[in-house]
């Protein structure tokens, strides 16, 4: 017992035995409880008919589809709102974060107020506020608020013109892809030339031509295969066009604005972390202010920003489960419906946990890859 190694070994063995025993006890209880309440364990229920409707169906789904299909719809909806939320939160967060460092009193003050307000309020409250406080008290569709470009906002959500493409439009997409590849090759060549000769050829116009001009030309050649479907006011409702439901809007806006406050703080900290000597050295080298930012400050700030930014993205993804409170049909909301109908709590909880762990790990893997690219390469 005096030897730390033996002691460590004994402690670990005791711990493992205790935990295994505890787990076995829990599992045996669960088994007994399940047999008593006559619930068959296993994932067979995923093939049964779901029988409930879902408000927002990005993929084919009817009430006759299976529970498994319903849960897939939930995952897709979660990814939709998280992806949109991450995009908007990043944009707003970077703007507010940079505004917090402004020399302008008013700009800095407003950014500070924004950050301090949203950081200290529960995200659920923000979601409920957008949904019950703002969106559901909007006017009925028949006197919806009208925005330019035939966009209408009512208590049924946002109705926008939708672009419908003919099959031939696929050529424009292919042209765009070709343009991207071409632009990438061009910029590689320009870089190689800069490394060799020290002169960087200007590739702005060729790149723009490849990225925008080429698809446009192909689009025109194929005869503009696109029509706009404009929402029309019927007697009680607006029909046609692209309909964004209020649940999605509430969740999307709340998550974005809430997370943006945290991203703003991360961005601010990242920029502050780049020492002043770096900017001074850059201007001593004769770099302009724009180039200093692009080549010196931003790459170094990114190194500090990316890891916490990753965890904010993960938080946003996990917070999207709050959509349950306003009836946005994401994974947890649909899962809880399934759970209530079938009573398969263990399986549904397991599906939740695995899906979120999978989402978290994939976001984390992507951001780690990005981080490895941005990280400092030390010799």
């Amino acid at each position: 017992m005096r030897d730390p190694k033996t002691r460590g070994l004994i402690i670990q063995i005791v711990l493992i035995i205790a935990i295994t025993a505890f787990a076995a006890w829990l599992i045996s209880n669960t088994m007994q409880n399940l047999t008593r309440s006559k619930i068959a364990s296993g994932f067979g229920f995923l093939n049964y008919r779901a029988g409930f409707d879902i408000g927002q169906v990005p993929i084919d789904y009817t009430a006759n589809s299976s529970y498994g299909r319903a849960l897939v719809v939930g995952i897709v909806n979660t990814i939709l709102v998280s992806g949109a939320g991450i995009a908007l939160a990043t944009i707003v967060g970077f703007i507010v974060g940079i505004a917090r460092l402004s020399h302008n009193y008013l700009l800095r003050g407003l950014a500070t107020i924004y950050v301090e307000t949203f950081r200290n309020i529960p995200p659920l409250l923000v979601i409920l506020f957008w949904y019950f406080g703002v969106l559901t008290v909007l006017p009925l569709p028949k006197d919806a608020i009208e925005f330019p470009l035939s966009t209408y906002l009512s208590n049924r959500g946002l109705q926008m013109p939708a672009a419908r493409f003919d099959a031939i439009a696929i050529w424009s997409v292919l042209a765009l892809i070709a343009g991207i590849v071409g632009a990438w090759l061009l910029s590689r060549r320009a870089r190689a030339m800069q490394l060799q000769t020290g002169q960087r050829p200007s590739i702005l116009w060729p790149v723009l031509g490849l990225l925008i001009g080429l698809p446009l030309v192909v689009f025109a050649v194929t005869g503009f295969p696109m029509t706009f479907e404009i929402p029309k006011a019927t007697r009680f409702n607006l029909s046609g066009g692209w309909h964004v439901r209020p649940e999605f809007l509430a969740l999307f806006l709340a998550l974005s604005f809430y997370t943006a406050a945290f991203i703003a703080e991360i961005v601010r900290a990242g920029i502050i972390a780049v020492s002043k000597g770096q900017t001074e050295a850059a201007s001593a080298l004769g770099l302009s202010r724009r180039l200093t930012l692009r080549l010196v400050v931003v790459p170094q700030a990114f190194r500090v920003i990316i890891p916490p930014l990753t965890s904010q993205y993960l938080n946003l993804t996990k917070n999207s489960s709050l959509g349950l409170a306003v009836g946005y049909p994401e994974l947890v909301a649909i899962g809880s419906t399934v759970l209530n109908q079938t009573g398969q709590s263990v399986e549904v909880v397991a599906i939740w946990m695995l899906s979120y762990l999978g989402l978290s790990l994939s976001v984390a893997a992507f951001m780690n890859w990005f981080n490895a690219r941005a990280a400092l390469v030390e010799r």
């Binding site: 669960t30 409880n33 409250l125 406080g133 703002v134």
Partner: protein, 493 residues
Amino acid sequence: MSEHVSAYVSQRELPRLPAPRSEAGLIATLRKNLFATPYDSVVTIVLGIFVVWLAWNLIEWGILTAVFTGANREACVPAEGQVIGACWAFVNAKMGQFIYGLYPVAERWRIDLVHLLLVVFAVPLAIPSVPWKRLNALLLFAVYPIVALVLMTGGDFGIGGGWISFLFAIAAFVAIAVAGTSLQVSERYVRIATWLATAAIIVLFASNIVRSESFRVLGFEFTALSLVSTLLAFGSVAASVAASVTNNQRLKVLVAPVVMLAVILFLSADFGLREVPTHLWGGLSLTLVVAITGIAASLPLGILLALGRRSHLPAIKLLSIIFIEFWRGVPLITVLFMSAFMIPLLLPDGVTFNNLLRALIGVALFSAAYLAEVIRGGLQAIQKGQFEGAQALGLSYWQMMRFIIMPQALKLVIPGIVNSFISMFKDTSLVYIIGLADLLGTVRRGFADPAWITPSTAATGLVFAGFVYWVFCFGMSRYSQFIERRLETGHRR
């Protein structure tokens, strides 16, 4: 040479002139900070118009067109063509529910007393210059929870032998921790105490599985095994006392068992308070209960998990990593659902936890995982020399952690810990999804009440709730910044 340079040197000091007009004064400050460049001026003007517009709208909504009095929705429903802003009458009418939930009106003084005691105990502890910190901390962390529990539930718990032996086993472990981490101690007796306490836990576990006849000792219901377990725990405490060298140490060791004895007597005593079941609790008081219990339970658990993750023993390290990463990878809602739906499945037939306790377990485990990562950050920031120095002095692992590492590590991560507490305080709002009526839950129920349905009720109630949350969270973050500055010992660059 010097003659040339000092051709003219003034013999007297010249009067100091005021700074040039372009550099000082109100106008210069404004110009520098608001109108430095044309671009800045445009930004300032646009934002200025926005601020005025926003402020005017807020004032109009919150004061000018708001309704302050009224008994039901009639007061807040706008007439044709009329615009009505905030419906403060709703907040006014529902204030009781927002604070006390469904707690019986005649018993609300008990909640008031609980809140008052919290302020009385917590505020002096938070102000650095108030003396008797140790006594104050003991009152807040040991006495207050028990008093609050009795006041809120009504007390008079039927405590059986199982609970008694469980509480004494905890007390025995605390006594071992106190004895074992003091600097002078008889290692042999500490070991004996540890074995006895472990045996007490094992026997207690067995007493829950093996049925044995029960009898009454001193008015409490004991089974044979739970009595044995209790006696083992007593033996462990005795060994801890024997392990201590000085009288002062012995007293310290005895604190936990004596407190526990008082707790048991206090919990089982009948104060003539009416019993209030937890499903009637609600409002701000429930939010505080969940938040404070969560904070109190997750901090020690988080410290243990952080130590486990940094341990050199592979099994402990792996288990800690799995635990932490699992809870951090899933949203709190699923955790709450899991505790609501799966805890009843995991327990043997006949054992039930009430809804509130399940939520508390979920919240505590969830935030412990986050706290563990914060604390691990602090542990990693401590230089290796500190560990080596402590070991060179001959300190044991726990002594090293308690006297050398933790004080430094925790101090480093105070901002992180407070941030976790703030996010936990915000996260308590999620318990309303599993059917508990916390502050947000009561507000939500309030504006769904048919007697109060108006276009502005929801927004008003949510703004009110948001303000309450904001005050608490903002206060916590400001206090943490204050403490951070106070503890600053100049290590930071």
